[in-house]
Symmetry: C2
Subunit: 491 residues, 2 copies
């Protein structure tokens, strides 16, 4: 069919170019010489301009319209391709070019201001640019369009079909139970000690490689490197790259490896038939995060996992672990200790960090909260929900990059990911009643194969909520996550 | 001036895109997961197509014509930019697209056939595709145009303004003196022994980094990595990347580091004013090679260099060198021993390897030699010029990638590089009469600064022969190289 072929050719070209830009970004984080960042930014701007012009090309729009109106005899994948290309085209064309340039300029200006403000604990210096960022995000929502609330338009950028109402409903179900569970599980201070650092970087790298190989990361189709912050990115169907960082005082690298490894497993198992199309990678941030959190937390912090893995860890780090029994190790890696920093939070308190950000950013966008009052509102909620006193804005409202980056609507996807992970895991456990033994025997192939069949292989063919329905038989339901937490932390 | 600004904007965009493609190639050689090469090739084809369409855009041609006709009030750099863009435009447009596609397809087919043929010592399996490659190269020369011989058109691709006649003249001056000197310097077999391997890779890497830093490679604007074959590439004015390989049985990595380091020093010292223009990198293969060979051989294999550097080498590899005195070391690294393989050749015999290739490829293009007769002609010349018997075509006519790649006219630039290196070094020695002391004290800044001022900073503003005239007061003259060899090997 001629129209579909044309559409696929355009999709393939755009996919190639996006993968080239992914390479440029990966290289920037992992390899770039310090003084080359300015010229790399120019190269990136040149590429973005070329890609943008292709994405908003009216001939592409016409092609998509034609494909939409000739909806007969098309496969599920064809229809998904048309839908996805329509979505991308609309997202690209709804924002006037002038606005896109102004927003991207604001972002470039904002990031260094935020870095300085955080360094100097000086929220006031960041406030004006953040105010403008809120205004522009509101404007962005108007351009993109929404049914009920402006925030819906922003959410949809990251999680197709998600609405503020649904997020609010989930958080309403989580707020009190989480606060109560944290109070009940108590502080983990007394067990979080006893780690015999340091861990040499070489040994950490070797163990992280082993972990990735163990859960099924294919090193012939990917690699692991070092960067300032761990991340995972795809440069093509056969080129999935994860990074990690190695702090000699910490074993955080283990859970970062499993987290990024989870993202990578998803991408490495997307069907090759979807390569060079916009369907060829994971469907949304939330579903993606469900996989990183599944491997990091549900599997990676479970007793059966360490039953299998602790001997290897001890062999790799005998000086550090030969005197720690597995029970103490399990307590250490699952200690509940509400704190200031989201990315260091335990499984119980993590989503309260996200909830606070959701409440604040919706209030900012609605105009119910002024930027000047943001630090106060932040600190109040941390006291209220997590029982911690925020000593400085650097460790408070300035800790995350997202708002400085103009990414309003992004935070909820972290919690959506956690909720989905538990709901999906529940479905897996119905399939594999012996799931604890499966993990304790290191039969991760079995788990990965089920996940591939149910989720990974489909790439972006199904929308997030469709996928959840297919895999778990119901739409997003926070109960599974609460049940998982109760069983793990209060049993 | 509006026309010049337009031209510069186009040049900047093309420069950015070429740098992105350089990143893709670097990554391919250094980082790419084994199973990702096919998708990377597709991405590369997509990028090449986009760049090619921009390069042959008739609006660009018109802009260049306008700039050429308004040649008043232009700076030297402006005029060089126009000239260079004309040259690139003509090279891109003279070849019909059909021809370019066919040639590039032939090259992709040819490379694996050559790899197999070399592996199996089976020239006959490579002969048909090589025959076609010769035909297409002849056709290429016709499209590109030339004054005297078709070969001139191919040479000019790599070394602007160079002609077969000039190359022939140089080789005629070298042939007999080199053969005589090799006979006189005799075989180095007895001194080439005594190396106490192995050298661990980590130690080699550390020493190679030290060497690069010593000669002035700026690690804030570049990096060194590993690859199957050492190379040097630029991803932008502030991003020069060199690679090396580390054989535990050999110290070859030292000279590879200096060789690639020489290429990189050239690029790192091009004036920042030329960034994002086609003038912003080294002017030609020959001049580039003169710098790699200058640092590798003229400086890097000299007595004063090791007077400075041997203590560091000994400290880095005490077990290997504490019992070897510096005299034996110097004999070892300068042993004259005619052999089969170009890339392993000593300074005396190296250019005879190139000469043989030049004689054969011109004969092929002129139709004086048939591909079927190539191995015989190759072996005969190796016996005649170098006194060695070629046991297999794998170690003979199949050893180099160039012909399989369709790069006829490339080989002579290696010798041009050697000739230029000696001629330029002679000019340096007139400037710095104490040059041996300069090296022996490790004052490489002084040398690099002179080279930067004379050569590096100018990028491609001057044509190769103009540059030689400016720096040395005369055009290419092989006498300097012969004098250098005599003094070094027969004194």
């Amino acid at each position: 069919m001629d129209i579909m072929e044309n559409l696929q050719t355009r999709a393939a070209e755009l996919s190639d170019l996006h993968n080239v830009m992914a390479l440029m970004q990966w290289d920037q984080e992992v390899m770039l010489p310090v003084r080359a960042s300015e010229e790399r930014a120019q190269q990136f701007a040149t590429m973005s301009g070329i890609v943008h012009r292709k994405e908003v090309d009216s001939a592409l729009g016409e092609l998509i319209s034609k494909a939409e109106s000739s909806d007969e005899g098309l496969s599920v994948t064809d229809r998904a391709l048309i839908r996805k290309m329509r979505r991308n085209y609309d997202q690209s064309t709804k924002l006037p070019e002038e606005f896109v340039v102004e927003f991207s300029t604001l972002t470039s200006q904002s990031l260094p201001v935020w870095v300085e403000a955080r360094k100097n604990n000086d929220f006031a210096s960041f406030a004006p640019i953040l105010t403008r960022m809120v205004e522009m995000s509101r404007q962005q929502a108007e351009y993109l369009g929404y049914e009920k609330e402006p925030y819906d338009a922003l959410l949809d950028l990251y999680e197709e079909g998600l609405t503020a109402a649904k997020v609010r409903e989930s958080f309403d179900a989580l707020r009190e139970p989480l606060r109560n569970m944290i109070a009940e599980a108590g502080s983990g201070k007394e067990v979080a000690q006893g780690l015999k650092a340091p861990f040499t970087v070489d040994e950490q790298v070797r163990f992280a490689d082993q972990l990735l190989a163990m859960i099924g990361f294919d090193f012939d189709r990917g690699r692991q490197d070092r960067s300032a912050h761990p991340f995972s990115t795809g440069l093509g169907g056969n080129d999935q790259r994860v990074t990690n960082r190695y702090n000699p005082q910490s074993i955080e690298f283990i859970f970062s490896a499993l987290h990024e490894g989870g993202h990578a497993l998803y991408e490495q198992n997307v069907s090759a038939d979807l390569a060079r199309t916009p369907l060829g990678s994971g469907v949304s941030l939330g579903i993606h995060e469900s996989q990183s959190r599944l491997w990091e937390n549900i599997i990676g912090r479970s007793a059966p996992f360490w039953q299998y893995c602790y001997p290897t860890l001890r062999k790799s780090f005998p000086a550090q672990f030969s005197n720690m029994d597995i029970g103490d190790f399990m307590k250490m890696i699952n200690a509940v200790q509400p704190g200031l920093i989201r990315v260091e939070a335990d499984e119980l308190s993590y989503n309260l960090h996200v909830l606070i950000r959701f409440e604040l950013e919706t209030a900012l966008l609605d105009g119910d909260l002024q930027v000047a009052d943001l630090p106060g509102a932040w600190n109040e909620r941390y006291r209220d929900y997590l029982g911690v006193t925020v000593p400085t804005d650097s460790d408070g409202v300035l800790q995350d990059i997202h708002w400085a980056h103009g990414s309003f609507g992004y935070f909820p996807t972290y919690t959506i990911g956690n909720l989905c992970s538990a709901q999906i895991w529940h479905a897996y456990c119905l399939f594999d009643l012996d799931h604890e033994r499966t993990i304790a025997h290191g039969d991760f192939d079995k788990i990965r194969q089920w996940l591939s069949q149910q989720i990974y292989q489909h790439g972006s063919v199904y929308q997030p909520h469709e996928l959840m329905l297919r895999v778990t038989g119901e739409e997003l339901n926070p109960d599974y996550f609460l049940r998982y937490l109760k069983q793990k932390f209060l049993a």
